[in-house]
Amino acid sequence: MSENELMFGDASTAGSDEDWIAPASAETEDTALYLELDGWEGPLDLLLDLARRQKVDLRQISILSLVDQYLDYIERAEALKLEVAADYLVMAAWLAFLKSSMLLPKEEQEDPSPEELALKLQLRLQRLGAMRESAARLMARDRIGRDVFVRGAPEGLRIDRKTQWQCDMYALIQGYGQVKARTAPAIHMVRERPVMTLESALDRVSAMLGVTLDWVSLEEFLPPHAEPRLRKSAMASSFVAALELARMGKAEIAQDKVFGPMRLRRVVA
């Protein structure tokens, strides 16, 4: 570690503890320390506090003696039958391990080395210490509503937006046209169409069947020169007529395959 570093003082001297609901560090006595058991925010916080008790720059603390203090603290807390949270115990176990590794001869050491672990712990403590210090300095600044005040009764600035509406003649009459068009009654005209009624189809089909005994395809019953729409109507009516005749036992129907041509033959009574 380099010699010349920045030094960070004890947070308690940096002022403004008043912002803290629960001051963490008991200032002096060990007894106070124990009473403040709930005052620490985790093991690192406690370690930082213990380190500060060494009254030296955080970069020069003795990790070994810090470990001893921490373990001592936890032991005594347990002796007082205070409930010690798990994370404090985990830290205690880790520190105990760190301490024993630091005391071991060099050769038997593993990676990471205890020196590395110790240095990193120190670095963590420095960082936490720095932030704690910064927090205190931040809280000590001139704060609005505490040290400085903004205007008590500002008039306030208001911007009234006034809208200039735009619409032109075309849009207006188009709008009216749309209303009229939308709400105009819909008129449905069913136009007269050429159709062949079922009756006439029945007459027509049975008359034609009477002429021959052969199979006749359905198409042949349709009026030969009919315009397409009439032809369609005739097809439908003739089909129904064929079914009707079959039902009455006057005709039989044959179809070789689905959608294939349909044939009709008179049944001789």
């Binding site: 005040f149 009216y176 007269e192 109507s233």
Partner: protein, 215 residues
């Protein structure tokens, strides 16, 4: 009045600035830990003089002092900003209905439009200055009726409402074509399209022999 204010003046200045209410000289003195009232009075006077002709001023109202924006700058507190906006389609339709049918109630507008009309739509048109409330209709409920304004005529370049194109003119220009005209045109039935738009239950299902379904 220039130069640096003395401590008392600074304290009075800050106190009046931060106060939520106007304060009497006595209240200021009390607030400042029982400062001498006449000294505070002098400080207040000095400040009032100092702030003359600035953007803010220290004024006395009924023995109470407070800071306020200089009277001639009051317009800065409330600025108006104009923005140009196109009338929405709904508003345009309502305006057109009022123009063609005035005076007309909201219920009538809705029945002509075939849709409900938001209250805000009429408000917008009134804000624009194009329609106004023209009384009440003497029917049960006495609904408010609306009519157009002279500004409306002016904006749309009309000398009177009679200048509005009539229904026939609208139709001639295609503005009355319903949407499904396109369909009719495609299916080839245009020669005698619904001439009568009065009521719709006169559909005459002409052909009686249409039935396949009578077997």
């Amino acid at each position: 009045m220039s130069g640096k204010p003395d401590d008392l003046q600074r304290a009075v200045e800050a106190t009046l600035f931060a106060s939520e209410e106007a304060m009497t000289v006595e209240a200021i003195a009390g607030h400042l830990g029982d400062a001498d009232v006449s000294a505070v009075r002098a400080a207040v006077q000095a400040l009032a003089e100092f702030y003359q002709n600035r953007g803010i001023e220290l004024v006395e109202r009924g023995k109470k002092w407070h800071f306020q924006t200089a009277a001639d700058l009051a317009h800065l507190l409330r600025r108006e900003r104009e923005q140009v906006r196109r009338l929405s389609r709904a508003a345009t339709e309502v305006l057109a209905i009022v123009a063609y049918h005035e005076p007309v109630s909201r219920a009538e507008i809705e029945s002509i439009r075939g849709v409900q009309t938001a209250k805000g739509t009429l408000d917008v048109l009134m804000e624009a200055g194009w329609i106004k409330i023209a009384g009440r209709r003497e029917v049960p409920g006495r609904p408010v009726i609306y009519a157009t304004t002279p500004e409306f005529l002016q904006h749309f370049g009309l000398s009177s409402r009679r200048d509005l194109p009539g229904i026939d003119e609208l139709r001639a220009s295609g503005l009355l074509d319903p949407v499904d005209d396109a369909y009719d045109a495609l299916t080839g039935v245009e020669e005698d399209r619904a001439v009568d738009e009065a009521d719709d239950n006169q559909v005459d299902t002409a052909s009686d022999d249409a039935g396949i379904d009578q077997a």
